[in-house]
Amino acid sequence: MLSKKIILTGSLGVGKTSLFNQFLYQRFDEKYLTTIGVKVDKKTVMVNGRELSLLVWDIAGEIKQDKVPRTYFLGSSALIYVFDLTRPTTYSNMLEDLKYLKMITPGVVIRVIGNKIDLVDLEKLNDILDKVPATIDFTTSAKTGENVENVFFSIGEELLDNA
């Protein structure tokens, strides 16, 4: 079976661990617990009739991506750059971060995810999205599970298309 490494990255407190737990275990914890290093687990999914093993890395949040150890990106096939829709500081470095990530992981699939959609008034969502400096691929809620599977399936589809 084909297996692919996916890294959840972004600033601290944006919900990377919650997305990890929601996708892998269908679990959500209201309490914030900081990640200090790395957790890795895997899940097999069916994408267009093909089995794909996703090896998902949940790493400690960093305000700037160049603080993440380079070895973490070794062998990665996709990156999920997560920011918090309710905290502008979590997307203020986005352009710089994405430029850096593309430079150190050429050819890797990147998705930009605005998390915590459940905390945003729908009337204010467009205002927030206008302020985000890059194209957002998905808005998600790790709490309700909204779009979480879709993020990973869209990555799986692109990885299989490229395989």
Binding site: L12, G13, I36, G37, K39, L55, W57, E62, T71
Partner: protein, 125 residues
């Protein structure tokens, strides 16, 4: 990110060396932390190892060590925080991977508690 040079505050710090061949089978294990049968292929058992294994075997021998600090695992018998270090080298004409696993659970739990306070303060502001 924590680093591995800060020293263990707890006295834990036992390390295990596992030597793998390029097929992923165990050639040697010190069994300091957990028992691993010789010849068993363990790559799929450890998702972190599985996700970098291909890159390791494609890397040059005598290349830099690949280090991962504060790896949180729930593997039975390894519930805690560990530092992982992978080195690819040639031994007696065969390419092998030396994987060192050091238990730093107590130390990192303290780091995590401190970091939790710092991060909660940042999130409030």
């Amino acid at each position: 990110m924590p680093d591995s040079n800060s020293g263990s505050a707890s006295g834990d710090g036992l390390c295990q060396l596992i030597r793998l061949n390029f097929s992923g089978a165990v050639i040697h294990s010190s069994n300091t932390l957990f028992a691993v049968p010789i010849d068993l292929n363990i790559v799929a058992t450890f998702p972190l190892l599985e996700s970098i294994f291909q890159s390791l075997i494609e890397s040059n021998t005598h290349s830099e060590a690949y280090e991962y600090f504060a790896v949180e695992t729930t593997f039975p018998g390894l519930d805690g925080f560990y530092d992982f270090r992978f080195v690819v080298l040639e031994e007696f004409g065969e390419n092998v991977i030396d994987w060192t696993i050091c238990d730093r659970t107590t130390y990192y739990r303290q780091i995590q508690a401190d970091q939790q306070k710092n991060n909660e303060a940042k999130l409030r502001n």
